[in-house]
Symmetry: C2
Subunit: 438 residues, 2 copies
């Protein structure tokens, strides 16, 4: 039996500091549960002298990651630097030296997961990545272990704290997107360049990882339909409320038998659904398994300590294997590597759901009839209409929701409608998830 | 490497049938993930010929559990008969034969856990019991593995589906306790003798298991304060609504430093808290870890397939260990057995929380002053008062909520108040969790 587990940390940023803090402050608790001590042997960071929220002994910090990767004493390499390179090279090198790996790098795994997992498989090395999706929420473990005997019928997730913070503030405070974004930036909830979050690229990385584990598949990021939140206006939030909905940026995966639907977009969901209650910068994941039924998980999707908590759970998990003299006990991608296959994601044109349209129409009799005429000709059946107070000049909003319609038909209809001379601006469409969202 | 994992099932009731269904219908999925087949070798039940929701080959059913326990071919014994005996003997015998064990028997583990876990520890045998708490919700794994490096600051749980169904119906439909209970019984959500559920005995078993894992401790069931839901009336539900609260039966554990507070009682919680949205017969668990922050889990706490899903996740977990040639990878009670200690639970007299009182007072001037006088003399400070329309004769309800008060003071004050001649009936008290419930 090993006498201790030694770890090396690459990247001493916010999460790295959190991990160091947990591993040192909770060393007694971890030893009581793991059975042997877990020791931070060395930390690599390009900036040795920066002032950090934790005190790290100067002598264990190095600027040279190779001093971790090549150290035969170190059992587990924890990559927390982020980005593609040199993180990818460091991870592949660590695998090559037979080291177990823990990472929170969702962009890397979503983009280069195939080569990393295959290399790890060949080297009989485990990769812990619980912190890559949903921060402190045990999403990866839930898919890989808890729902192991379930076909995942669907997953609806709020996977990006920045977007949820912005949409929640817009909903609760009546403020517009730009105002809230600026506030979020000054509070540290959004980056100075917010593209990665608000255009749902971050969410796509996380959904890709979930999909690959849930269905034992390789996922091409570009096959996931993705729409950001910057077009959402306060009037859409208010119409949603009137219709009984809340707008959330949802990542959606639905098993349609032969294919899996995977899409990310602002979504109207019923006001009384648990996902509607997910406020501030929290994340949530709503799985439906064919045996388990609904399983809903909620928590902090980011932040120093919540993310560190997940990283350390991975370290202890791998530490338990090492203490037992085994490795890679649970398949890396949830299915045995030989079972990993490519599945097709349903093209966005083929999805069928409910829609909200906000038309900018001239205020003139006959408008409703013209618009609904085009919708009807495209097999789109209207569920409700809201037409508010008249204006003397300019556009008035005409809001409609639909029964189930095919996206392709919707796009065709809107192309025709937006060309009508009674329509003054591009129509806003927001998808609605209602009946299927149990 | 083992070529297959063989399991024997003792107890072919509702959950047993569900487990058989998952293991056979999902055998391909399980093999793709576990790597080797998982085979049901034999099933024991006292009733061989009963008509069941699944078709089980007659030749694998026996009335003799020993044919499972003594079979050297069987790796894992799954106990799903429930009750204390002979379940306890069967489990101890199975451990004695070196078999791994999976059980959903919360009453047994809460009552005889100490001897069962110690015996398993000595025999180097694992016991899976994910299904014993929260059905399909991965509560046990979350405490033992995901929050492994966290001190659990608090746990607030809705752990009994029957009580939640009754309280939700009373809240949504305005019906009274007895009416809803009868309905729940006819729908199969409540037993014909509902004591075990509505007096919170079932919840106490589950909280005891959570406490023992979260704090690495032995728990005496009788040390957990427990109050059922049968005294809750429609008028309390309505006053709660007026005050911005929902009434739920909560199991509460709070780490108070030297001692842990453990109590179960109907509780008023803020209307906009996630726990308030847990409707019907669902369960939910809200953990606060010192690193992880809030982690909220929700799902079906009972039922054939949800419970089976959790049982099978345990079987696969243990199967992975067996396939790797190891056993008991995670400590049975979450802490290494040598670290298990007794901790003291805070006596109910010493808890400090907010209270709701509904006094049945005569309708006469000066009542409020008399009642608030007694409260004041007992260090109880009033936060709000509701005094509704006058009646010509009989009692009128006077409702008060308090700031933080000590239970001992509350009991003393109510003893005095209930003796006043202006008070016509025993005062109803319901504890409120508000500020601390983040």
């Amino acid at each position: 039996m090993k006498e201790a587990i030694k770890v090396g940390l690459i990247g001493l940023g916010t999460v790295g500091c959190g991990v160091y803090k947990v591993l040192t402050e909770q060393s007694e608790l971890i030893r009581k549960r793991l059975g042997i001590p877990l020791i931070v042997s060395r930390i690599a960071d390009i900036d040795v002298d920066r002032i950090r929220p934790v005190r790290v002994p100067r002598e264990i910090i190095t600027t040279d990651a190779a001093r971790i990767i090549d150290d035969p004493e170190i059992d587990i390499v924890i990559e927390l630097m982020g980005g593609f390179e040199p993180a990818k090279t460091f991870i592949l090198d660590a695998i090559d030296r037979g080291k177990q790996v823990v990472t929170a790098n969702k962009a890397l795994l979503a983009t280069y997961g195939d080569v990393i997992f295959k290399t790890a498989e060949a080297g009989c090395v485990d990769i812990g990545f619980e912190a890559s999706v949903g921060g402190t929420i045990p999403v990866i473990k839930t898919i890989k272990e808890c729902l192991v005997a379930n076909n995942i019928r669907s997953l609806y997730g709020i996977m990006n704290g920045t977007c949820n913070y912005i949409l929640s503030r817009m909903t609760d405070g009546g403020e517009d997107f730009q105002t809230v974004l600026k506030d979020a930036q000054s509070l540290g909830f959004a980056e100075s360049d917010p593209t990665y979050d608000i255009e749902a690229i971050d969410t796509a990385h996380k959904l890709a990882i979930c999909l690959s584990l849930a269905y034992g598949t390789r996922v091409k990021l570009d096959d996931i339909y993705r729409q950001g939140i910057s077009f959402i206006s306060q009037s859409d939030i208010e119409f949603a409320r009137e219709l009984g909905y809340t707008i959330k940026l949802l990542a959606i995966a639905i098993d349609r038998g032969g294919a899996v639907e995977a899409r990310i977009h602002p979504t109207m969901i019923p006001f009384d659904h648990l996902l509607s209650s997910v406020g501030s910068n929290f994340n949530a994941f709503h799985f439906v398994g064919d045996s388990a039924g609904s399983v809903f998980l909620y928590g902090q999707g980011a932040g120093m300590m919540p993310t560190a908590s997940a990283v350390v759970s991975d370290i202890v998990d791998i530490g338990r294997d090492l203490a037992s003299g085994i490795a890679k006990r649970v398949p890396l991608r949830s299915y045995q590597e030989r079972e990993i296959r490519d599945i097709s994601l349903l093209p966005i044109d083929d999805i069928v759901t409910n829609y909200y349209f906000r038309f900018s129409a001239v205020d003139r009799p006959g408008v409703l009839s013209k618009i609904s005429g085009v919708l009807g000709l495209n097999n789109i059946s209207i569920a409700s209409v809201i037409q508010k107070g008249r204006r003397l000049e300019g556009a008035v909003p005409v809001v409609m929701t639909t029964h189930k319609a095919r996206e392709k038909d919707v796009r065709q209809a809107l192309q025709e409608i937006d060309r009508l001379d009674i329509v003054l601006d591009k129509t806003i469409i927001i998808r609605i998830e209602d009946e299927e969202l149990i």
